[in-house]
Structure formats: structure tokens, C-alpha cells
Symmetry: C2
Subunit: 230 residues, 2 copies
Amino acid sequence: MVDLMIRRKRISGDERKIQILRSALPLFAKKGLSGTTTRELAEATGVSEALIYKHFPSKEKLFDSIEAYCLSTSEANIGIVESLEANTESLVRCIYLPMYTVLKNDMVQNDMDDKDFHRLVVHSLLSDGEFAHHFLKNTYTIWREKVESCIVAAREAGDITIKHRSTSIFPWLVQHMVACYAYKHLPEKNLVDYGIENEDDLVDEFTLFALRGIGLHQSAIEQYYHPSTF
Amino acid sequence: MVDLMIRRKRISGDERKIQILRSALPLFAKKGLSGTTTRELAEATGVSEALIYKHFPSKEKLFDSIEAYCLSTSEANIGIVESLEANTESLVRCIYLPMYTVLKNDMVQNDMDDKDFHRLVVHSLLSDGEFAHHFLKNTYTIWREKVESCIVAAREAGDITIKHRSTSIFPWLVQHMVACYAYKHLPEKNLVDYGIENEDDLVDEFTLFALRGIGLHQSAIEQYYHPSTF
DNA sequence: ATTATCTATAGATCTATAGATAATGC
DNA sequence: ATTATCTATAGATCTATAGATAATGC
């Protein structure tokens, strides 16, 4: 009762705090706030439950901290997008980018962090949507504005001639395509069969569908869509 | 301790069972299996917790029964789709149908059942995906096959000329568009701004985007897309 | 007699805290 | 001396069952 205490390696408070955040993330992502117990959280980090409460006042606050942590560490490929000029070529690149990022990441790697991030977003859709809102804002706002200005430029260049009621709908529709792809790939079970094996071909088809959907002329698509050079 | 027992109106076992299923559905949909307590389930139906266990052996089995109940009562507009001939006009109608169904339902009515159904699907995406799988199969299989055969017919009629790697990808992309629309509208918080107020206009833009994305010629779209007559 | 329903409660588990102990760094 | 960590446990809550009681239908 005295010297049986099993002690882990002692590390600094800040280090341990981040360790807890990191090991709690996949648990909360998969089982949600209510589905994860403090016992599981402690086991995942390899510490006692009491230690978790030294760093976070409650399970809820730990969950909140994880969301904040995720948002702070997610800086999309914004730099690339920001530097693009507003023209038809950039439009093609802008549409290709999220398709490539999401479809290739989710298929190829076992990059569980990406999946868990999406799971947190989906959990948020089932609660108040706050986290989903911040995620969409962080990740997509600049990209969306760029897409819109490129659509305007493409129209001025004569590469789009059909009438649009709104340009802002298109980036959202593209986002919907990739988001739903990601969501449907969260479970192990295969939910969709696109009839396309090759990942690059799938990215192609998603991108071409979207570009046609936006109303970009086939000639412009053929001129500017060369994924091998992106 | 003897005659203080508060008794509800006594109804038949089968009736009560369905009553429990129905009042448990919105709870499970919103808070998930682990987030809903037996106490809440009992209160929602207005019976004791013990009575719930007379009808269902466990909370998990009750949840399973709710999923089964939902699947059994969801018969999409399959009849309409099945009767359509495979041609370009049917393609346009087929794409319009889910857009109209989901976008109008979710926006106009306070038809909470539809939202809760989607919530159950989303919860399923966070677990094993079984329910989502059955939902997709039930609701979309016949529709998907019709869309594919219509695409083939439209190509034969000369209304689609671009090459496709696969026809089966297109119904899925359309499904993704409406599914993600529904998911993003689950929380009260407004997550997306399409820049279009009018619901019919929004259905239009979704549908036209998809039809163009499939590669249907603009002339065919103009010829066949007349939502007011659908 | 059978069925629907309740009260009461056991036993498990979960969240959170109190208080002790060992390692670290000044 | 301060900090990191643990054990032990209180108190709440949750799932599920046992057993009693009242209403129904034959």
C-alpha cells in the first residue's frame, strides 16, 4: 500500500497536457464526447484519471480543448491558393486542389488524423455545428473567394457563357462533393462504388464533373486541365 | 407506498412498443446511443424505465430496433423512378427528383423526422456504417440504376458526347451533393450561404450543375429541364 | 388468468476530488 | 520547495432486474 505505486516517466506539465490532447483526439473522434469515458482517456495516455483532471477541469473542457487544438493546427494549402491570379487556369487548379487533397489522402494513406478530423466535424454536425463552422471558415473561406473571382475572370475571358444566379454556390457544391466523399469513407465498410479503381482517375472525374457543372467550356477544360503538371 | 402508484393509461403491448420506438427515435438521432439514457427514454414515452425493458432486452437492442423500424418505413419515390423510360428526359427528371425532395423538405417544413433520419445515418457513418449502407441501398439503388441507363440512352441520342470512364460515378456525385446539403443543415447554426434565397432557384442550380457535370449538352438541358411541369 | 404497469433497488460504472508520495530543479 | 503523479474513494448516475399491483378480457 506504500511502495506499490507504479510511476510513469515524469515529464513536464505542458508536455503531458499535449500528450493527453493527442491521445484523447482519436477516442473522442470515434466515440464522441458521451461515448468516451475518463477511464479510457487515462488509459490511452497511460496516466491516472486524476492526472487528467490536473490539466483539464472536466471531460467537456478537454473535448473543447481538443477542438481548439485541431483548429489551431489546421492550416490548409491556403498559401498556394492565395498566390493564384484570378483566371481560368487558376479556376481549374482551385477545383482540382481539394479533390486531390481529400481523395488521395483518404484513400492512399492510413493517415488517421485526417479521418479523425472529419469525424470531429461530423460529430459537430450532430450537435451545435460550432466546430464544423470554424473548420469550414478556416479551411475554405479564402479558397471559396478565389474560386468565385476565378469564375468571374473565366466568364470575362469567354470561357464561361451560361448564366448563373450566384457564383457563391459553386465552391460550396465542390466542397459538398469532397466532404461527402470523406464522410462516406469514415466507416470501414465500403458504402459507395464509383466504378473507378485508379485514384488519379477518380480525382479526374470529380474535377471534370465540377468544372463542367460550373459551366466551363469543354475547350477551356481541355486547354487548362493537366493534372500531371499541377 | 401502496396506492401512490401513478398509472398511465394502459394500452396494448404492441401499441406501447411502437410508441416507445417512436419517441426514442428523436432522442437517439440527436444524442446517439451512448448520449441517451434509459431515464430519458422512459420520460420521452411517459412510462417507467422498467416497462421499456419489458419490450426491449437492452438499450442497444432498442436502438437496433429503431434502425430496423426506420428502414422498414422508408420507401422512397421508387415507383415514380421505376416507371420512367431510359431517355434524356428521364435523366433530367431523375436528377431533379432527389434535389427537390431533399432541398425542399429540409428547408420548408419542420419535418423533424427527415432530419432525424439523416442524423441516424450520420451516426452510423461514425460507427460501423451498417445503417448508412442499408439506407443507401434502400433509397438509392433503383434510382442509381435508372440514372445510369438514362445516361447511356442520352449518349445514344447524341445528348452526351464527352467520354466517361464510368457512368456509375454520376449518381453517386449527385447523391453526395444532396446528402451533404442535408448534413450541413442538421445543426441550427447556418453553415453555408449559397447566395440564393429562393428554394426553387436553389433546386434549379443544384440540378443544372449536376446535369452539366454529367456532360448533358446545354441544348438538351434547355429542351428537357422544365421543373414547373415535373 | 393474463397482461400492462409500477416501485424499489442492486450492481456497475462514471466523473471528479482529496490527500499522499516521489521526482525535479533551485 | 515545487511539481508531477499516484491511490483511494465519494457521490452521482446509469442499466437492468425482481417482485408487487392494478386493469383487462375471457
